[in-house]
């Protein structure tokens, strides 16, 4: 791989990788069973340079911000490279947000360029907020012939001949602005520097190196910090290959493992659990004698891999299981949300190492990672090289807030010095997560201090972001909380949002109100929905400026009523 210590920016590292690994395959893009694109590093350079030149000619200047709203595909990475080559700042936005939310973040980021897929652009142009869009240049990919692009340019045609000038950036310059939340409330744009990414990449590849011939299956959205690192920067600076699938249908994902003999994949818990369900169903279909043999073989594998993974041995012991994953899988990487230890243990016992980790967008990608020496399903691993972790204000059991100091921690929140000061104190990032270290230096997490949830799909959801959907609800006041914030748990998981309602005097909670809440809740994407409600009998405590004192209200509710009092919505 490249020696990243020698580089000052991602653009330079990627540029050198394209030269060093010119003949290696860097990208495969498949749609279902059809392979659509296969590019070598040299091909990748050939398709990205005309775009970089066209950006230069369109006065896209160093430091200008460029948003990408795309599903995982080759044009995502080609565009990102062209933007870095031109000295631009990348703003990866979540394609699963609503058009209004995307427009809000586009405005907040002040992106002058947008690269977007046609179906997403069509939705954006139909949103009422579109009339206020300030983005100067829009490149629309995969638009049908004759489609109205509402002032945008066709991505496929946006290219110019001639070599573009490479723009060098310094380590402290901004590489990306990544939104960790804040679509409905206060946007949290994490400003990450080139140094943040280069150091993160160095730390991760020190423990889990890529090399030419490795095939990484990119399923997590590339706008997500994990896939951006292990599905783009990491493989590219090592000469490995990234496989994109245009569908997340479980049967095509399973096929891709086999067709492309995948080496690594990063998955969120929801997908890992889906794979587990599928395997368990297959095992249940076996005749009892075959099942008994399988169980015995799994037990032997478990015994032999107790101290460390022995992938080759496991492949011999459980060939059918491993063939279903392509036969060359070295590890499932998980993160972004709480994963049940039993699920991780299930895969590990089959001889498929599960690399569990912990991180947050504010800290690049990962702060801690399981080094598999030995595998521990009950922890999120040890601090990565270069990462310092501390537990602040530990209680009798050693549990306190986890704080991190590392070259991978973001510079600041975009346009929010107040929040930055609250979050990064004397160089330490306050994570808001509660944890402790065990005797062997592994970090164990025990819940959250902050009022938020992380879904099984790896999405951070803040109550303030979903509250706006209930604007004008016919009650005196309401407030949305993370249930675990109101009723603290000593574990992660069971995360959901609840809405506390304060009714008007003499108002009864009736079916019309319930129906209205259900209807509004359904307007939210499924992963953002509120899971329960409770009726609170007192006025909410408020500050002098009439803001709800959320923490005080949560504490009072938590003291007064049981979690079970929240009725499912």
């Amino acid at each position: 791989m490249l020696d990243l210590q020698k580089y000052s920016c991602l653009g330079a590292a990627l540029r050198d990788a394209l030269g060093r690994f010119a003949g290696e395959t860097c990208l495969i893009e498949a749609d279902r069973e059809r392979e659509k694109t296969r590019l070598t590093y040299s091909d990748f350079k050939d398709v990205s340079m005309p775009l970089a030149r066209a950006l230069e000619d369109a006065d896209f200047d160093p430091g200008d911000r460029a948003a990408i709203i795309m599903t995982n595909q080759s044009k995502w990475l080609i565009s990102a490279y062209a933007i870095f080559f031109s000295g631009g700042v990348l703003v990866p936005l979540d394609y699963k947000l609503t058009a209004a939310e995307q427009l809000q973040l586009l405005a907040h980021s002040k992106a002058t360029l947008l690269v977007v897929e046609y179906h997403l652009w069509r939705a954006i142009t139909r949103a009422p907020e579109f009339q206020n869009i300030q983005t100067r240049l829009v490149l629309v990919s995969e638009a049908p012939v004759g489609a109205d692009l509402a002032g945008g340019f066709r991505w496929e045609d946006f290219k110019r001949k001639g070599a573009p000038d490479f723009v060098m950036r310094q380590r402290e310059d901004v590489a990306c602005i990544v939104y960790s939340s804040g679509t409905g409330g206060r946007p949290k744009g994490c400003v990450l520097t080139h140094e943040n990414y280069l150091e993160q990449c160095r730390a991760l590849t020190a423990w889990y190196p890529f090399w030419p011939g490795v095939r990484y299956l990119s399923i997590l959205p590339t706008n997500h910090a994990i896939d951006f690192m292990v599905g783009f920067i990491g493989p590219f600076v090592c000469g490995a290959c990234v496989v994109h699938l245009r569908t997340l249908r479980p049967e095509f994902v399973r096929d891709a493992f086999v067709r492309y003999r995948i080496t690594y994949v990063a998955l969120v818990p929801m997908i890992v659990k889906n794979l587990e369900r599928g395997l368990r169903a297959k095992f249940d279909e076996l005749p009892s004698w075959k099942r008994a043999i399988l169980n015995r073989t799994i037990a032997i594998n478990k015994l032999l891999t107790r101290s460390r993974p022995r992938v080759k041995l496991s492949r011999m012991l459980l060939p059918q299981v491993h063939r279903a994953f392509g036969g060359e899988l070295l590890a499932l990487i998980t993160g972004g949300a709480f994963m049940e230890p039993s699920t991780m243990q299930f895969f590990y016992d089959l001889g498929i190492p599960v690399v569990n980790g912990y991180g947050l967008t504010e800290a690049g990608t990962a702060l801690a990672l399981n080094d598999l020496k030995p595998f521990r399903a009950d922890t999120v691993g040890k601090p990565l090289p270069g990462v310092e972790l501390r537990v602040l204000g530990p209680n009798d059991e050693g549990i306190g807030e986890v704080a991190a100091r590392s070259k991978t921690v973001m510079s600041h929140y975009l346009d929010d010095p107040e929040l930055t000061l609250e979050t990064i104190v004397e160089g330490w990032l306050l994570t808001g997560d509660l944890g402790r270290f065990d005797g062997s230096g592994h970090l164990q997490l025990f819940g959250r201090k902050k009022n938020m949830i992380v879904t099984e799909g790896g999405k951070n959801i803040y109550p303030e972001d979903v509250e706006t959907i209930f604007d004008g609800l016919a009650v005196k006041e309401y407030c949305v909380f993370a249930a675990n914030y109101v009723w603290p748990q000593k574990e992660l998981g069971r995360e959901m949002l609840v809405i506390a309602l304060r009714l008007e005097q003499n108002q009864q909670f009736d079916s019309a109100l319930l129906g209205e809440m259900v209807n509004r809740n359904r307007r939210l994407p499924d992963f953002k929905r509120v899971g329960g409600y409770l009726v609170w009998e007192k006025d909410f405590p408020r500050t002098a400026s009439m803001k709800i004192k959320r923490q005080a209200l949560a504490e009072e509710i938590g003291r007064t009523v049981e979690r079970g009092a929240a009725v499912a919505l």
């Binding site: 179906h119 799909g457 994407p525 992963f527």
Partner: protein
């Protein structure tokens, strides 16, 4: 004559839509092993069936095979009830 033809087309479309919806409800009931009568067109299928977004993608494959259409994943984005899903499929028939 022109008006009459449109009216007939509309009627045919409505009938087909209802039929598509009914077939989706039956297929979903069979796929997730719940009684058909438990499912209604405007149900939030995440809630009624207790499924996640990946499981809905599984269902989508069944529906594609049945109706012989191909639906990109993004067609399901923001869809959480059977009636809207039927509309998306009907548009591609």
């Amino acid at each position: 004559m022109e008006v009459l033809r449109f009216a007939q087309d509309d009627r045919v479309f409505m009938n087909n839509s209802e039929q598509t919806l009914e077939e989706i409800l039956s297929l979903a009931a069979a796929h997730f092993k719940v009684p058909r009568e438990r499912l209604a067109p405007d149900d939030d299928f995440f809630k009624t069936l207790g499924i996640d977004s990946l499981q809905t993608l599984d269902l989508l494959t069944k529906l594609e095979n049945h109706f012989r259409v191909e639906l990109p994943d993004y067609e399901l984005q923001g869809v959480s009830d059977f009636r809207t899903l039927a509309g998306r499929i009907q548009a591609r028939l």
